[in-house]
């Protein structure tokens, strides 16, 4: 009960701080944080799978699916409300995730990772060849509306940032609750010893299939936000390097702390932005070296720095 109260206070405080921060930030930094949070949502889903011992390299599938759901709905149905688009993106991705998850959850290790990657590359191929869906040029999206409000300029940027902050804090709080729940503990146990979980009477397949559906829904939400933030989407959203970036963020953060996931995503976006400016052809090198340092010095990711402080509370910070 105390933990539930703690997370509500923490979430409320974080949201208030983020919104206040947004008012003080320049537009370019608000955009950067919006993108970092959108991608962090996808990585959050991957971390949920990592807690059960699975790594999904193909979450670009849902990032892209969410983005195209928003794009096609806005273009062909004229629906531009961000709440409706986000909800639709989540539902579509959760349904597709449920269909694939039922099969994928029977696989482990590299087979699971590569199968998810293969499915995302199938989507990439289909979108690239489909003229009706914009081929490799993708789709341009209209500016989103917010429950009837049609902000422009700085206001639009702030509204998008605020929506993303709310989505991030709510998703983070829900995932924190899940990670600390009975099902969350079983997921950790699956990572350690699947055989024992089965012989205690729980279904490993069902548990991991559910974690996959949750990851798909978060991927879809991230995709909707990213597409609306840049007013564009293209097949690159499903490309394997995009999926690799999400895994990069998840590994950098580790599975011990939820804020660390979004912090890692911000680090990635900052390094990408500044290195594109100052050393455009070697920024991946800088990221790779940074990841190697983290893996050697903090094998459980950046989150282990925070988690150690919270260990006594028995919860995932």
């Amino acid at each position: 009960m105390r933990l539930a109260t703690d997370i509500r206070i923490l979430a409320g405080g974080s949201l208030a701080a983020l919104l206040a921060l947004g008012l003080a930030l320049p537009e370019w930094l608000m955009f950067l944080l919006t993108m970092a949070f959108a991608k962090g949502l996808v990585a959050l889903g991957i971390v949920g799978l990592m807690r059960g011992g699975l790594v999904a390299f193909g979450q670009g599938l849902y990032f892209c699916l969410g983005a195209y759901t928003a794009g096609l709905t806005a273009i062909y149905l004229g629906v531009t409300d961000i709440f409706a688009l986000a909800l639709l993106g989540i539902v579509v991705c959760a349904l597709v995730g449920a269909a694939f998850g039922a099969v994928l959850a029977t696989y482990r290790g590299i087979f699971f990772a590569m199968l998810t990657l293969a499915i995302s590359m199938v989507l990439y191929g289909v979108l690239s060849k489909s003229m009706a869906l914009g081929s490799t040029d993708g789709l341009s999206l209209p500016a989103p509306t917010f429950l009837g409000a049609e902000p422009e300029g700085w206001r639009l940027q702030f509204y998008l940032y605020a929506f993303t902050s709310v989505a991030t804090v709510v998703a983070g709080a829900l995932m924190w609750t899940y990670f600390n729940s009975q099902r969350g503990l079983i997921t950790l146990a699956i990572k350690d010893n699947e055989l024992r979980v089965e012989y205690l009477g729980a279904s490993v397949r069902w548990t991991m299939a559910n974690a996959y559906v949750i990851a798909a829904a978060l991927g879809g939400l991230g995709g909707v936000i990213a597409a609306l933030a840049i007013s564009h989407t293209d097949p690159e959203f499903a490309f394997w390097t995009t999926g690799g970036e999400f895994v990069f963020v998840a590994i950098l953060a580790g599975y011990l702390s939820i804020p660390a996931i979004f912090a890692s995503s911000i680090i990635l976006e900052l390094v990408r932005s500044f290195s594109t400016l100052y050393f455009p052809n070697t920024w991946q090198l800088a990221l790779g070296i940074f990841l190697l340092i983290v893996i050697f010095l903090l094998p459980d990711g950046l989150g282990s720095l925070v988690a150690r402080r919270f260990k006594r509370t028995g919860g995932a910070p």
Binding site: T177, Q182, L188, A189, Y199, G201
Partner: protein, 249 residues
């Protein structure tokens, strides 16, 4: 009386190797059976077939009159048949208390919650009670790699007992345990299981343990049951002495 666990004509082969041949066993409720035999005699194959890890090629296994021959381990466990392992199957990254909490969480709720905290106070208290039954409470904050072999065996059994099973199969509960720990461990386990009125089948190589704790003995050799009876009778059987115990008088 209807046996709680029954195997009728159960056979299993792995390629050219026959691991179990025409096994017929009827275990009454609350009985204590030991399964003896040399390595490869078919004891663990029998345990694996009863608990759904292996599906028999022929025959029928029933539990409380219900056919469980082709059920998976999860379904069989849910019905009330639990097992411990020769090599304890624990969660090495979790503490003793957390291991027990996982066992209780899975056993208590058919569908564990996505919302209810796994580590609330009442849940931890229940886990401590279960650990106390096997004198594991002092170890509750230790990680598994820090435990002795005997403690790991006890925790493995404590986790198998979590869902108040009707039948429990213990695969070599004292193997790898120091000689002076064997009897104290078996005393603890047997008392706790008797308190729960559980039917017990245990695989064992130590004949002193077999004589002391079992009511009936099944002797396996070459995939077959060559003797079935009271411990004294079975251990006096010439075939058992020749093929199992190696003590021919």
């Amino acid at each position: 009386m209807t046996p709680v666990l029954e195997a009728a004509g159960v056979s299993k082969a792995f390629g050219a190797v026959t691991a179990a041949m025409d096994l017929n066993v009827a275990v009454p409720d609350r009985a204590i059976y030991s399964l003896i035999g040399t390595n490869g005699a078919g004891k663990t194959t029998f345990v694996n077939m009863v608990t759904g890890y292996i599906t028999p090629d022929a025959g029928r296994i029933s539990f409380a009159g219900r056919d469980i021959t082709r059920l998976d381990p999860q379904s069989i466990t849910r019905l009330g048949i639990r097992r411990s392992f020769q090599i304890p199957q624990l969660y090495n990254g979790l503490t003793v208390l957390e291991n027990m909490m996982v066992a209780l969480t899975i056993s208590a709720d058919r569908k564990p919650s996505y919302w209810k905290p796994a580590k609330d106070r009442s849940h931890a208290e229940r886990a401590r009670e279960h650990l106390a039954r096997l004198s594991l409470n002092d170890q509750r904050d230790r990680l598994i790699p820090e435990l002795s072999s005997g403690m790991r065996k006890l925790l493995d059994i404590a986790m198998a007992m979590a869902g108040r099973p009707k039948v429990i199969l213990l695969d070599e509960p004292t193997s790898g345990v120091a000689a002076d720990e064997k009897f104290p461990i078996m005393d603890l386990v047997m008392q706790a299981l008797k308190d729960q009125e559980v039917t017990i089948l245990f695989v064992e190589h130590d004949m002193d343990i077999v004589i002391r704790y079992s009511e009936r003995v099944l002797a396996f050799y070459d995939g077959r049951i060559i003797a079935d009876g009271a411990p004294d009778e079975v251990l006096a059987d010439r075939q058992v002495q020749r093929y199992v115990t190696g003590v021919v008088k």
